[in-house]
């Protein structure tokens, strides 16, 4: 009985991974994200930048040095202004929040590994944007 269940679960997951791999996933061009990363990494406060974009919006999640977190709000404003001025056609979300960094990094990995399609990416990005706007 136990073996049967394990076998079932195994085939179930193998089936999923097979379908994902077999799909041809076309991606939103990520060069906007790459460019925004290049712009921000030149700041000495910044330790790491994660960015994702679809055709309309761009999410940039920035990690900074711990002692710079005292100036979190002013830094966020500065980075946001810089990115917004550079990419005028995009709805830009810049965040220094740990949760947004985590989520964006995860999506970045998924894009790299080709395990997410455009529709899911847009959906997930909307969720991240909502999360970053939620202050309550």
């Amino acid at each position: 009985m136990k073996k049967g269940i394990i076998l079932f679960i195994l085939t179930f997951f193998l089936g999923i991974s097979d379908t994902v791999l077999s799909q041809e996933l076309d991606h939103f061009d990520q060069h906007v994200s790459e460019e925004s990363k290049k712009i921000l990494t030149k700041y000495e406060e910044v330790t790491n930048v994660h960015a994702i974009n679809d055709d309309k919006s761009l999410i940039v999640a920035i990690e900074i040095h711990h002692h710079d977190r005292l100036r979190l709000n002013s830094l966020e404003k500065k980075f946001k202004k810089e990115i917004e001025d550079k990419f005028l056609g995009y709805e830009v979300t810049v965040s220094l929040d740990k949760k947004i960094v985590m989520e964006t990094h995860e999506m970045e990995k998924k894009i790299k590994n080709n395990t997410i399609n455009n529709k899911d990416l847009s959906k997930k990005m909307k969720k991240i944007i909502d999360l970053s706007n939620d202050k309550a």
């Binding site: 949760k99 999360l131 970053s132 939620d134």
Partner: protein, 161 residues
Amino acid sequence: MANNKKKNLTPTQQQYQDFQSKREVKRPVLKNCVKAFFVGGTICLIGQLIQTFYIYNFNFTEANAGNPTVATMIFISMLLTGFGVYDHIAQFAGAGTAVPVTGFGNSVIAATIEHRSEGFVVGVGGNMFKLAGSVIMTGVFSAFVVALIKTILVTWGGLSW
């Protein structure tokens, strides 16, 4: 008042008072501060761990993970007060346990336990916020004043939200 009293004392009494004040055990202020610092710091560390837990495992950002964290910390301190554990910690650390938000939970439950014998409505209900009420009142009122000042500054002072 105190000086008057001292003047009225007989020489023997004055002598005794000097003798007594010399031998009185001094309050270990520095030791108490160190204890409060470390125990209070430990409570804050636990709070930080809970906050990180909420950020990593639930849909909370750094901005709003504070709310469930405070609720959890108060709940834990309420349970500990009920079981009689918090009193021992408070006896050891003093202000270290009263200043963090856990002291709020402790003051609610301590008042509740004290007045339990007077019944649920008049005793527990009526005295639940005897100590913590002033804290809530101060919080609500100061939030109102700060909001008022900010509204005025935004409307007429040219400040942005």
